[in-house]
Symmetry: C2
Subunit: 186 residues, 2 copies
């Protein structure tokens, strides 16, 4: 089981988390993933290595937590006036971000240090929330909308599957083809 | 880069590979994944630990190779007389095997010790070959058939995505719904 608390910690605990995450982000840029060690992260964050081991278990679990933070969407999907346009734009951007070298590295990290699936589930929840926003907006416009779970199957799943297992042909035209087939459900 | 040879090795090399893979499979059953070590595997296989390190790099890469072997389909998809029936049966069986506890563990192992994506690509190639068999057979019957890559997107990708990121509702009805939506393409 994971050693991470289920809720966002407050006070000192939150400061330690922020300092350690920031140290990982900086050091990934400076020394790269292969050279990174827990003592190096702890020194940069101003905590003891045992603080890191106690909270995260090992380097892989820490990298997984940092990766999920980086995969959190920063803005709402764009509002372009129609369900198809909004889904096209969102799918293209999602594919772009996830298939980029840093996106691929974060997806891998998120999965690898995540024995109980909490962080993978969080990645999927981020995508579901973004799709919900697009669908809610379309419904308020009076458009017919499909189910969020089906949009995950039709748009998100093929993109993530190809990134992990079959990384060819990941471009904007592919994203739009997925959206077209998804909207055939209506 | 991977230290694995691109082709199946012959002679002594093949015997070492078989002995080491067999040792991993036995020890996974006896001591479990968390207790497994390279020296333990080497002793069981009758080779030196450095033989294992030289060939596989580390335990994770070895586990990845063993996992891909275990994920190789053992039989051709059943021939039930129609494209829909064949796809339904294949998708149900694929979901069953991949979503089982051992299937999930092998998928995870295959991805984790596979920095260059060779083993993940092999898993995807196995699924593509099985779908090709179903589609070729249907085409010979005179049925219209969709493209294999689209069947990977419609059937394989959602199953693998949910196993890794959103493990709910993985049952036979779900597999058949995926096949129905896939055949809407025709």
């Amino acid at each position: 089981m994971s050693r991470k608390p289920m809720t966002r910690p407050g006070g000192r605990s939150a400061r330690v988390q922020e300092a350690v995450h920031a140290a990982v982000r900086e050091l990934l840029g400076e020394v790269g993933r292969d050279a990174l060690t827990v003592p190096m992260v702890a020194a940069r964050a101003g905590v003891t290595p045992s603080t890191v081991y106690r909270r995260w278990g090992d380097l892989q679990e820490l990298l997984s937590d940092v990766a999920v933070e980086r995969l959190r969407p920063e803005t709402d999907p764009a509002d372009l006036g129609s369900l198809r346009d909004d889904l096209d734009a969102w799918a293209e951007q999602f594919l772009d971000e996830m298939a980029s070298p840093s996106g691929r590295a974060y997806i891998r990290d998120a999965l690898l240090g995540d024995p109980d699936g909490t962080n993978a589930g969080q990645c999927s929840a981020y995508a579901a929330e973004q799709i919900d926003t697009v669908l809610d907006r379309a419904a308020r416009r009076g458009e017919r909308v499909p189910d969020t779970e089906l949009m995950l199957d039709d748009i998100v799943a093929p993109i993530m599957y190809r990134i992990l297992f079959r990384p060819d042909g990941l471009n904007a035209a592919y994203a739009r083809d997925l959206v077209s087939h998804a909207l055939d459900r209506l």
